[in-house]
Symmetry: C2
């Protein structure tokens, strides 16, 4: 069992994400003004998150903190902080608990995902079930959910309900995904139904909640919601691409999880329909294998690479980014809105 | 996969529990007045519960409703309804969502328990992981949690936080139990720490919340909380006894789950310390087997029966019942308070 790290691993990831969004040349201008502010915001949210994870039982606290420290790039807290500041807030204190809650919900689902997918690693470290065993992984996921809802109790009924609905969407997305495993006939529409629920709903709800807490107008809240949905979809499409064409060292996890688990991602669906009948049959046969060997996974990748899937799917992610950026129109122009625009592009251009 | 039943299975269980509490002779008097009222209350709560389980995805709705229909004896909604009426309420409508939320939380933990314990059956039917597979069982448990918190959003921050804290206790209880599996040296104090958190906290919090919603005085809320804790503990002790000495047909599940999974219950702890050194060594050796065969389980039962454990542990459950009944002193006397008293006795005397 690995010990929980003493310091938060969020900042380097965050800085590289933001840097990727801006590019090195620009990072000396506007970014150098607002990046320290946002890094501090995300760190404050991490602090709030760590605070509520404390349990009487060292083992549970350790497991919960371990899960959160492998829980991702802090994209959600960053987006929520930037959105709140874009709406004119001088401090993000009013949304710290909310952002921590959303980060906990996200992490809880990753933990349960790793149980369901038999994942060995997450962010370059042993996954929760691997590090703490299946029972503690399941129970720690529940614990993260519970602490998230305690944090949400600080807010209005409408914010709590929007959060709850997004969680229900998330779970529905999981179920839809389970229902279409190993099934390449499920189609694009089904894929987008999954992604909207599993990935986009929680980002959209988090941003809409930020708008509501900032007492923004209806069009602003709707704009933030649409932006969140669009970049959530772009984010997931990019994730699907990286799982096949990414660099496992940068990703911190092995490639081909979706091929292995039979998740019908946009990459698989597009590759499948672009292949000639002979290769299509081979792709389908390999994709449906319940236990795939490395040579099967590499062949699925090679078959995909025989088509223009990577370009087509990348373009599709970019189109969602553009939709997200357009949805920001009702938000006042300024450095934080520009950051939201650039983060959207960063999501589609990232390599990790 | 089994289909979800069309009608609620709660009422027969409920009636037999209440009947067991009152005894046949008395059921013609006071009980005949209030039983139909409470059956209606519990049925209203079930209706509220079913209402929120509706998902766009038939499979998730089906799984969630299946889990709830195997989710137990509706003891919690019954206790909460009786307590609310004991405080003078003419209608239980104000607590329907709360009671439904607590029933959902209880059910969610049973579903995840069944995943962790590899349980085959629950209430005489295939367990959730058995009926729907491990992924859907995990995700459905999450879904039940999420819907529970949506229901709780109707109430004050203090009610939500008390509910959340009880859920955290519940999870901590699970972790404590995991930590002491196959360990007979963990002791009575550890056992009571587990039971207070895993079973009693949620009953106590549900009843205290009912007191708060009824705008009861501090001593009444404290009394309800203490009553809930005490009968929660009595309930769990009785569960431990039934797992060794009960009738599997009445219970709807096989015996010896705790022996099999190495849960150090009060029964195991007391049997172990009451045996002579030779049998003690045999008990410990068998208890620690990670895979036990039927002959091992039966031998553990027989070794337990060589001591006066069943009597001693039953007496201990009764002592908790008495403590619970005494804690009801601040509640106004009347038929519903008398029902709460008798339900406490029913908990310790039940055979299912």
């Amino acid at each position: 069992m690995s010990a929980a790290p003493q310091d938060s691993p969020a900042e380097p990831n965050l800085e590289s994400l933001v840097a990727a969004a801006f590019g090195p040349a620009e990072s000396e201008g506007e970014l150098s003004q607002i990046l320290p502010v946002l890094v501090r915001d995300v760190s404050d949210i991490d602090w709030r998150l760590n605070q509520v994870l404390g349990s009487t039982y060292a083992q549970l606290t350790e497991a919960a903190r371990y899960a959160c420290s492998t829980g991702g790039k802090r994209v959600r807290p960053l987006l929520m902080s930037a959105a709140f500041r874009a709406l004119g807030a001088e401090s993000t204190a009013p949304i710290h608990s909310l952002a921590a809650a959303f980060q906990l919900i996200h992490t809880a689902t990753l933990v349960h995902d790793d149980v369901i997918d038999h994942a060995e690693t997450r962010r370059g470290r042993p996954s929760m079930p691997r590090a703490f065993g299946l029972p503690l992984a399941i129970v720690s996921g529940d614990y993260l959910f519970v602490r998230a809802f305690e944090l949400a109790a600080e807010y209005s009924k409408s914010v709590i309900l929007r959060s709850g609905e997004a969680c229900a969407d998330l779970v529905e997305g999981e179920v839809l995904q389970e229902a279409s495993r190993f099934d390449l006939s499920s189609g694009r529409e089904h894929y987008f139904r999954i992604v909207e629920r599993k990935t986009a709903a929680i980002i959209a709800a988090g941003l809409a909640n930020v708008g509501e807490i900032a007492e923004a107008t209806g069009p602003v809240i709707t704009g933030l919601h649409t932006y969140g949905t669009a970049i959530g979809i772009a984010f997931q499409i990019k994730d699907d691409l990286l799982d096949v064409f990414g660099d496992p060292d940068l990703l911190g996890k092995p490639l081909f999880t979706d091929f292995r688990e039979g998740n019908s991602t946009l990459v698989s669906l597009e590759a499948y329909r672009r292949l000639d009948p002979k290769h299509q049959a081979e792709f389908e046969q390999l994709f449906q294998l319940r236990r795939k060997r490395t040579k099967h996974l590499l062949r699925l990748r090679d078959l995909t690479a025989m088509t223009d899937t990577e370009t087509v799917v990348s373009d599709e992610a970019s189109a969602w980014v553009d939709r997200g950026v357009r949805a920001l129109a009702p938000i006042p122009d300024g450095p934080y809105r520009r950051l939201l625009e650039r983060l959207a592009h960063g999501v589609a251009e990232r390599r990790f």
